[in-house]
């Protein structure tokens, strides 16, 4: 203690002469820092209502609710986050995990209102002063909390696969599948998109947990064709996946295949349970394609006696006779069919239904002997371009050739081929013929021409990539005009014009060509792969007359029933063409038939 200790504190008096440091607030504006986590903003253009913000919010401050003027559509739940500022702690995790980057924060932090209710608001929907703020927390880092990149799928290299029909896609290992399944945010947008509404987030969770039995149960609730759909589904689900906005969509299709790959087929029936006790009712199904067999599976499960009549030697319909083996091995399809038959479904192979003499059984017999009949014959006839020369024997339909290849018939591939069409069938036939060319001639010379430009091809993107890898020359926006011949009447190639537009203003098919841009594609064979249609000859004149029709397809009601009370129709011949749509159709029809039979039982 010294004199200094008495005098020193007096230096505090110097502050008398300083200006006050206090800021006069709230009279003066005091903006928040650039990255201040202030009030929320939500970009309605980007938000898809996936609800990831709601899931991460540890305060339960976010609720996903319908908003005025926003309706649900493919890839958008139609819901928007409403934030309760009585609960929010401005941690910004919602911004960090937002799947589209729509949710951000302004640096605004003062908001004065009399009514406490308004502090529960929907950013972006309820207009606020700070909606256009440029500053504020906008996820300073790139997205780190949810992996954006898909686990790449191992495929056989083009050089190795081109001369074989081995399956190209190898499938995920357990470790790879877990990493891929981990990326899913379980928003469920995919469920709404999937025609058969598979429990996608749940079965992806089963992959994460390694619980494949649970996975199988979930798959078979909605789809008895998981081997098939796990390989060649058009995977509409992936086009609406929330993860696609800032990265790759989840490989939903491959994960489905992963589940089914992990469980031996023999164990599946034990896992999903066998059929219910027999009801004594009989149902006839014409056509053992995905729609017919799905209906058969559902009805057999409920205890009905189901017989499927199939004209060909094996089941699967177009999935067997249309899709090449390198995309869908026959063993995989056989496994799906095995589960279906072990459920009690009887399939009569090589049995043709129809009115003619070569038919084994008539529609009338089926009607008389069964409680219900389902027509699911698919679209077996290829459409023709009907351009000059298309009736030549070296101008063939893709479906016919694909059928011959599957059936093991000898198919001679000429040295040069032209394929017309830009869908998956066109790619299938092009790649199949390329393999045959390589086997028979040692080199590939195959041109594919399509009406659409490359950005609007109907085929899957990976089909296009893989076709190119396999040396198929793809030419887009080419309209076929005529088949050209040499003096001896042999096909020499195809003449095409440049396509300017495909549809008119009313969106009707009316292609416009630039005639000056003409090309000649040399080929000894021209394959048409521009679509298919139903072969209705089995119905017979009387039934064809009795049924109501709609633009060449049988008219059905919402449950798949035709105008004849005893006859239902499902699959490609009324909808599609697409496997998973056929499966969905099969379920719908099965429910309808089951309801009808139950009603009949009650009436008795």
């Amino acid at each position: 203690m010294s004199v200094r200790d008495v005098i020193s504190p007096l230096t505090a008096w110097k502050n008398l002469f300083r200006d006050p440091v206090t800021i006069v607030d709230p009279l003066n504006e005091r903006p928040g820092a650039e990255r201040y986590r202030g009030f929320h903003m939500n970009d309605m253009e980007k938000c898809i209502g996936c609800g990831t913000c709601e899931t991460i919010c540890q305060n339960g401050a976010i609720d996903m609710l319908p908003a005025d003027g926003i309706s649900a559509k493919q890839g958008d739940s139609g819901l928007r986050p409403r934030i309760d500022y009585g609960r929010c702690c401005w941690c910004a995790l919602c911004v960090d995990v937002c799947m589209t980057g729509s949710l951000t924060m302004s640096n605004e932090y003062t908001w004065v209102e009399k009514d406490p209710e308004v502090f529960r608001f929907m950013p972006g929907v309820d207009k606020k002063d700070w909606d256009d703020a440029e500053l504020g927390y906008q996820r300073l880092m790139e997205k780190q909390m949810i992996p954006a990149e898909r686990v790449s799928m191992r495929e056989i290299e083009p050089d190795t696969r081109i001369d074989s029909y081995c399956e190209i896609v190898e499938g995920y290992s357990v470790a790879e599948a877990k990493i891929e399944a981990d990326r899913c945010v379980s928003c469920g947008l995919c469920v709404a998109t999937c025609p058969t509404h598979m429990a996608i987030p749940e079965y992806i969770a089963a992959v994460r947990d390694g619980d494949y039995k649970q996975g199988i149960k979930l798959l078979y609730e909605t789809n008895p064709f998981s081997e098939v759909c796990g390989r060649i589904c058009t995977h509409l689900c992936e086009t609406t996946c929330a993860a696609r906005h800032e990265g790759d969509p989840i490989a939903i299709r491959w994960l489905k295949r992963h589940i089914i790959d992990q469980v031996p087929t023999e164990e599946i029936l034990d896992i999903i349970g066998g059929p219910e006790p027999s009801t004594g009712k009989t149902i006839a199904i014409i056509g053992a394609g995905p729609a017919g067999l799905t209906t058969a599976f559902d009805l057999a499960r409920k205890g009905h006696a189901v017989t499927v009549y199939e004209a060909k030697a094996a089941a699967g319909g177009m999935t067997r006779y249309g899709i090449p083996e390198y995309r869908l091995p026959y063993e995989a399809l056989d496994r799906d069919v095995k589960v279906i038959t072990s459920m009690g479904v009887k399939i009569e192979y090589n049995t043709r239904v129809g009115p003619g003499k070569d038919a084994d059984i008539s529609m009338q017999t089926l009607k008389n002997e069964n409680d219900a009949v389902l027509l699911s014959v698919g679209m077996q006839l290829g459409r023709s371009t009907r351009i000059p020369g298309s009736d030549h024997k070296m101008v063939t339909k893709a479906v016919d050739l694909l059928h011959q290849i599957t059936a093991g018939e000898q198919v001679d591939a000429p040295k040069s081929i032209v394929v017309i069409g830009g869908g998956n069938v066109a790619m299938d036939i092009a790649r199949s013929m390329a393999r045959l060319q390589l086997q028979q001639h040692g080199k590939i010379n195959l041109t594919l021409t399509a009406l659409e430009d490359i950005d609007h091809f109907l085929a899957d993107a990976e089909e296009i990539t893989e076709s190119r890898e396999e040396q198929v020359e793809i030419l887009d926006a080419r309209g076929p005009q005529s088949i050209e011949f040499d003096d001896e009447g042999n096909v020499t190639g195809l003449k095409t014009w440049k396509v300017l537009s495909i549809f008119d203003q009313e969106h009707r098919f009316a292609p416009m060509y630039d005639e000056s841009d003409e090309m000649f594609h040399p080929g000894e064979m021209v394959i048409e792969a521009i679509g298919q249609m139903m072969d209705g000859s089995l119905l017979g004149d009387e039934l064809t007359e009795a049924l109501e029709w709609n633009r060449g397809r049988i008219q059905i009601d919402g449950s798949g029933r035709t105008s004849e009370q005893w006859l239902w129709s499902a699959g490609d011949c009324v909808k599609g063409p697409d496997v998973v749509t056929a499966v969905a159709d099969g379920h719908r029809v099965a429910t309808s038939i089951d309801n009808y039979i139950n009603q009949q039982v009650k009436q008795l």
């Binding site: 504190p9 540890q58 941690c91 995790l93 927390y137 880092m141 780190q144 909390m145 992996p147």
Partner: protein, 390 residues
């Protein structure tokens, strides 16, 4: 007759309990808190006084109990991150760091170099703020309100720096498992230097007006002396231990983050009284200012600040347990985290230094003290009640 040696008072019975007869009229029960300017946060002290001498004290905590540790067990690993900071209001960043480091260790995650520097920077900035708050409280406990006004002013400048770096002033929510949320903003170092200079200037004033002050010295020198022999048995850490002459500082004993790359030395004192503890903290604050400067000079200005995490919505961490510790302004701060392979922490235990300091140590230290020294003593132990009641 008043006996200068108070070690025999209050008298004890044969069985060791205090011989206090409340009906005798000699004693008075006195509650200090839960709202009292001498307590940082809410806790209360049930004093038994004889005249103006404290003969017994019992601390009561629980006014701030929000059950954080239990809340964490029902939240996913990422969802825990926004609530840990709330365990300690004046220096929240240690909770964020300890929790993040524990999760990273259990999940086997390495964080980028830049993130380690920024974490250290934030922890030191938080330490400065915590000490500034303490100095105001310590002076205030002895009636010197002006010191609190000055330190609050410069603390506010530091909060501005926090705001521009982290996006928030108090609960920064910036250090999260995997790294930190962002790099330093443009021109941050320059503005930080201005702030540090302002703090230094205020600290000069504080030294003249608080530490070279006859009143403060009279009230604090030789008061509430912690016997160095008590340190281990009472689990005393941080400045409370260092003021007793023991260089106990996790930053030097078991360096974490980037402390091995910084020049620092544990600040120690010898007299172990209120004045020495205040003095140790003042010098530690100045060292933190120096550390902030060192960090800003040495840290990398580019590079990732966050590592890629698995999907945090269902992040599962394998079975394990760990204890992560760090030196906060009050002593050793630790998080004991147990995981069981699920998506939720099985157990999170927050070990804040205030727990031992403000309850067991304080109850012992305050016996025979003057009532007017109770607040000063409690503040000198630098306790934050929210951290006691996790």
């Amino acid at each position: 007759m008043y006996q200068p040696d108070r070690s025999q008072y209050p008298q004890k019975r044969v069985d060791g309990t205090l011989d206090i007869d409340l009906k005798s009229g000699k004693y008075l029960k006195l509650w200090q808190g839960p709202q009292h300017p001498g307590v940082t946060g809410n806790m209360s002290i049930e004093l038994t006084v004889c005249g103006d001498e404290v003969v017994d004290a019992k601390t009561h905590v629980g006014y701030l109990h929000r059950g954080f540790e239990k809340l964490m067990e029902r939240r996913t690993f990422m969802q825990v991150f926004p609530i840990v900071c709330r365990v300690c209001v004046p220096e929240p960043d240690f909770n964020e760091y300890c929790y993040a480091a524990a999760v990273e260790e259990l999940a086997g995650i390495e964080i980028p170099e830049s993130a380690r520097w920024i974490r250290t920077l934030i922890l030191e900035m938080g330490r400065i703020n915590s000490y500034l708050m303490y100095l105001g409280g310590q002076a205030g406990a002895f009636g010197q309100g002006v010191i609190g006004q000055w330190t609050t002013y410069v603390r506010d400048l530091m909060l501005d720096r926090f705001e521009e770096l982290t996006g928030a002033r108090i609960y920064h929510m910036f250090i999260l498992p995997g790294g930190v949320r962002g790099h330093l903003p443009e021109g941050f170092s320059g503005r930080m230097e201005e702030t540090l200079r302002e703090i230094e200037s205020v600290m000069d004033d504080v030294e003249k007006v608080m530490f070279q002050n006859a009143v403060f010295k009279k009230r604090s020198i030789g008061v509430s002396v912690i016997d160095p022999a008590l340190l281990d048995s009472y689990g005393i850490t941080g400045p409370n231990a260092r003021a007793a002459g023991v260089a106990r500082d996790v930053r030097t004993e078991q360096p974490y983050l980037v402390y091995p790359e910084l020049e620092l030395e544990a600040v120690i004192g010898h007299d172990s009284d209120i004045f020495t503890r205040a003095e140790v903290r003042r010098r530690d604050l100045l060292m933190s200012i120096d550390l902030v400067r060192q960090i800003l000079a040495k840290m990398p200005l580019e590079g990732a600040v966050m590592t890629k995490l698995p999907n945090v919505l269902h992040w599962k961490i394998p079975r394990g347990e760990t204890f992560i510790r760090g030196e906060c302004s009050r002593g050793e701060y630790g998080y004991y985290v147990v995981t069981d392979g699920s998506g939720y922490p099985r157990r999170v235990n927050v070990r804040g230094p205030s727990y031992t300091h403000s309850i067991a140590l304080f109850e012992r230290l305050i016996i025979n003290a003057n009532i007017s020294d109770v607040a000063g003593t409690l503040v000198s132990l630098h306790t934050y009640p929210p951290e006691v009641e996790r």
